[in-house]
Symmetry: C2
Subunit: 174 residues, 2 copies
DNA sequence: ACCAAATCGTTGCGCATGCAACCAATACGT
DNA sequence: ACGTATTGGTTGCATGCGCAACGATTTGGT
């Protein structure tokens, strides 16, 4: 093996004081980087479940979950709820509709938008998928104590709130 | 405004017991989702800095940072260090080389690989970029106390280690 | 009533990404 | 020493994404 660089992830606290005089970014210690690595690892592991077993992309998965949670909803609700770009949703919805997993019902009160909902087949997939997703989450956080899990959630929340202010505008992919 | 769905991020603890009998995924409470949103928010905010001000993509930024940190390194070292696919690195390196920010020196001992290093211009950019990145990080985590910051880092570390086991293989984009 | 601005959703375009195939060079087994 | 397997790095290809422009519809101002 030869992967000591990544598996080592050497943390060098001795370096800290140097950052003052000659600012250096230590990638492995850089929080945005770490967050991304963790999020990617998690996403990819999860994606295997719903891609290989249900043929769903990440955006499709989010659409399905949202509709499973809310019965029916418009595309822009889903976009807001899943923090995704509306074009991403549009394409995911088109694909899901073509596969017969969701149905589109035009809204008579506002004919620009359409209400989306799971078809019976769609709900079937959702009901098979949801327990697996939750089981994954459970396995994933099982290295932490309950206390730590609550803490993590609260830290993430506060950081997310703050991050939205640092970058006021813009959707987020996922 | 009409974004109550996303800005509300309603957390409904009362729902918890329902998950036992009828497993439902509440997207806003789903940890992988939250991690992704936070990571994306952070990435995008950061990306603005080095895209708009230095014309660097995320992979390019990671190459620059790695070389700033280690003087010289091969492409595959950088890939491992930045947890990125080797093709991503290859293209980032090509672009940086063309812009004259990094130089490639063939390794006589193993002529498959090449040692990469920052040119003076590259280092100049790095030295302008590093303080800004660190300042961003500082601003970013400033909502947390020192204690909480240490805790967050440790939680992330443990989760990352665990996640690597759940998804044993595969690079990570970023 | 009318016109401008805003909103929902779709689509064409350019670009980045991951994958797999590939080339060149090196390591390994026998 | 020879052939095969492995490794570093590049590239063609298909896919997916965000952006911006657009059509259709609705809202708001006057």
């Amino acid at each position: 093996m030869r992967n000591d660089l990544v598996s080592g992830m050497a943390r060098q606290t001795a370096e800290k004081k140097q950052e003052v005089s000659d600012p250096r970014v230590i990638l492995e210690d850089f929080l945005p980087y770490r967050l991304n690595v963790l999020a990617s690892l998690t996403s990819n592991a999860l994606a295997q479940i719903y891609a290989e077993r249900f043929g769903l992309s990440i955006p499709a998965w989010r659409v399905v979950v949202t509709l499973g949670q809310y019965e029916y909803r418009t595309a822009r609700d889903i976009a807001a709820h899943g923090v995704m770009h509306k074009s991403t949703i549009s394409r995911a919805v088109a694909s899901l509709e073509q596969r017969g997993l969701i149905a589109r019902r035009p809204n008579r009160d506002d004919r620009r938008e359409a209400l989306l909902e799971l078809t019976p087949e769609g709900r079937e997939i959702y009901e098979a998928l949801a327990p697996e997703a939750l089981a994954f989450e459970e396995r994933f956080v099982s290295v932490l104590t309950e206390e730590e899990q609550r803490l993590l959630v609260s830290l993430i929340d506060r950081l997310s709130g703050h991050a939205r202010q640092l970058a006021p505008e813009g959707e987020v992919e996922g």
